[in-house]
């Protein structure tokens, strides 16, 4: 698997889905449209400054609040390659897997990585390296079922196969 590489954008705890994509933009639904407003109420400059490959690093409970899949879609559309947090709200966690936005739980990495650090992430191994500080971290391994979903190509291909097998 390719190594993800980008600059870190750090955020605090309880980043809610209204911060990730404000509800006033939920009359849109494509990743491209939503990406123009991603994180707008947390940092109005984020959408214009974020580069493809960049990495979001956040404290506990990232993605709390609404069930809007538009939140991970907006991040993905903006080119964010992975979100690393101490914990994720559960609907955001499901949604991120379902739309193919990689997310990792790695508390030590979150404590160590600073805004603007150059970071690489190996999704296959969960290895995280902060190239700016030289520190290395390990993310928690994905639960086996989530690995199965990823291997199947996502939730819908997985369910489709189940449906076919059931006849």
């Amino acid at each position: 698997m390719t190594l993800l590489r980008g600059r870190a954008w750090t955020f605090g705890r309880d980043v809610d889905t209204d911060l990730i994509i404000p509800a006033r933009y939920l009359n849109m639904k494509t990743a491209e449209e939503l990406a123009a407003h991603v994180m707008e109420d947390a940092d109005p400059t984020f959408a214009s400054k974020v580069q493809p490959g960049d990495i979001v690093v956040a404290q506990e409970n990232f993605g709390c609040g609404s069930s809007r899949e538009h939140a991970p879609l907006a991040l993905k559309g903006a080119g964010v390659s992975v979100v690393i947090a101490k914990s994720f709200a559960r609907i955001f966690y499901r949604n991120a897997f379902n739309i193919g936005l990689p997310i990792l739980i790695a508390p030590e990495a979150v404590d160590g990585i600073k805004q603007g650090d150059e970071v690489t992430v190996d999704l296959a191994t969960g290895d995280i390296a902060d190239l700016t500080t030289g520190q290395k971290y390990e993310a928690q391994p994905l639960p086996p079922f989530m690995q199965e979903l990823v291997a199947a190509g996502g939730l819908l291909p997985y369910l489709k196969r189940r449906l076919a097998e059931a006849g």
Partner: protein, 425 residues
């Protein structure tokens, strides 16, 4: 094996004798639902994945409530996509403007969800139906797409946390204060991934409307669902209303709870959650210095009959403060009609409040009461995040209908006693 009611419902839906926290299951769904914000993406994913038919045209509810009546051309397009999909697949439970209410008030009222159900909703407040003794949880659009196609969803069986309230509530204290109290105590991720079971004599003394309010906000503590054991109050609500056969579950006396909390009901004051987290609570009586510009009474949290009656008890014969806009939003057409028949709409209009057709509208800063920069609202809604009701520099204070109505009269955050108390007729 001893199980909580959440575990029993999930075991039944997975076709198993028993399940334990941490188990991964595929569960059969009794109903799945989406709204105008989430369904469009779900339909796109459904069609992109190549699904051709839905699993059951009677078990999918599509409820346009967030930006309806359509606030702009893009929102109109989202609802049109839902409407076309519903027609194409012959969906029985698509409801349009004039017949539709806010989903989490509407579906229980119409008997589309009931005790023992497993309900998957592409809306985070789907957990509301746990008040009926159901397992109901919010997901995103792709999960809804999968549910519409297969009638199944995967779940990790959650650990259950028990929240017990014994004793009698103080005057004007309602379900909203109880759930704000819990969130204030445990924090916005205090029950992350957990089932939150509410129990005790104070919970049993509550109406269904108050119970819906409590379970509605389980998600604001990170919960996967809120749930309350069905009793005579539940049965009286369900009878003659629920369109399928109810399945009543109760937790075994020796069921395992990961955490148990116990409070005296008398400890719960009239509460307000200050910006910008539902956990940022403080007694309403201490916040009289907070001047306000708007009051919103409604939403899936507090837009039911009991809520409107409480607001009317305070607004009857009084006027909304001259510097405050007060917007009342009955959650469903039936609630609207009942409020009309009881004379409550007269009370609101005579007080100087605006009465809206059912919509989520201002709760998520959609329409029908969006805040300008620097403005401040007291709302009976469920979230006070940055920018939730409009401008990123506006503020939302969450409260129950009594405090919201009293604040509308006072022009600042107030308790009913601070404006002279209730007036029953």
């Amino acid at each position: 094996m001893a199980m909580t009611m959440t575990e029993k419902i999930l075991a039944r839906a997975a076709g198993k004798e028993s399940v334990a926290p941490g188990d991964l299951i595929m569960a059969k769904l009794d109903l799945c639902l989406g709204n105008d914000v989430t369904t469009g993406v779900a339909i796109d994913e459904f069609e992109k994945a190549g699904f051709e038919r839905v699993f059951d045209a009677e078990r999918i509810a599509l409820i346009p409530d967030h930006f309806t009546p359509n606030k702009d051309i893009k929102s109109a397009g989202l609802v049109k996509q839902m409407r076309d999909f519903a027609r194409k697949h012959g969906l029985v439970h698509f409801y349009d403007v004039g017949r539709v209410g806010i989903e989490h008030a509407f579906l229980p009222e119409q008997g589309l969800v009931g005790p023992g159900d497993v309900v998957l909703g592409a809306d985070s407040h789907t957990c509301t139906y746990g008040a009926l003794g159901a397992f109901a949880t919010g997901v995103g659009s792709t999960d809804l797409a999968g549910a519409m196609a297969t009638g199944e969803a995967w779940f990790r069986v959650p650990e259950t946390h028990l929240f017990q309230f014994e004793g009698e509530l103080q005057p004007y204290v309602t379900g909203k204060d109880i759930i704000l109290f819990v969130i204030g105590e445990i924090g916005v991720d205090g029950a992350l991934y957990k089932a939150m079971e509410f129990a005790g004599s104070a919970i049993r003394s509550l109406s269904m409307d108050s119970r819906f309010t409590i379970c509605n906000m389980a998600i604001e503590a990170g919960g996967k669902t809120g749930i309350i054991a069905p009793d005579d109050t539940t049965k009286a609500y369900v009878e003659g209303r629920f369109r399928r056969t109810p399945r009543y579950y109760a937790s075994d006396p020796d069921a395992w709870y990961e955490k148990t909390y116990f409070w005296r009901a008398e400890q719960v004051p009239l509460l307000v959650a200050k910006p910008h987290l539902p956990s940022n609570t403080q007694p309403a009586a201490e916040l009289a210095s907070v001047k306000i510009d708007q009051v919103v009474i409604g939403s899936c949290t507090n837009g039911r009959m009991e809520d409107l009656r409480q607001a009317a008890e305070i607004l009857r014969g009084r006027k909304v403060h001259k510097e405050v806009r007060c917007i009342v939003i009955p959650a469903t057409p039936a609630v609207w009609k009942q409020a009309l028949d009881e004379g409550l709409l007269d009370v609101f209009v005579e007080a100087g409040a605006a009465v809206s057709t059912p919509t989520c509208g201002p709760c998520l800063g959609g329409h029908m009461g969006v805040l300008a920069e620097g403005e401040r609202a007291v709302a009976t809604t469920n979230r006070n995040f940055v920018g939730r009701m409009g401008h990123p520099q506006s503020e939302v204070y969450l409260a129950g209908p009594y405090v919201a109505a009293a604040s509308a009269v006072a022009g600042h955050i107030a308790t009913p006693d601070q404006v002279g108390g209730r007036r029953l007729s």
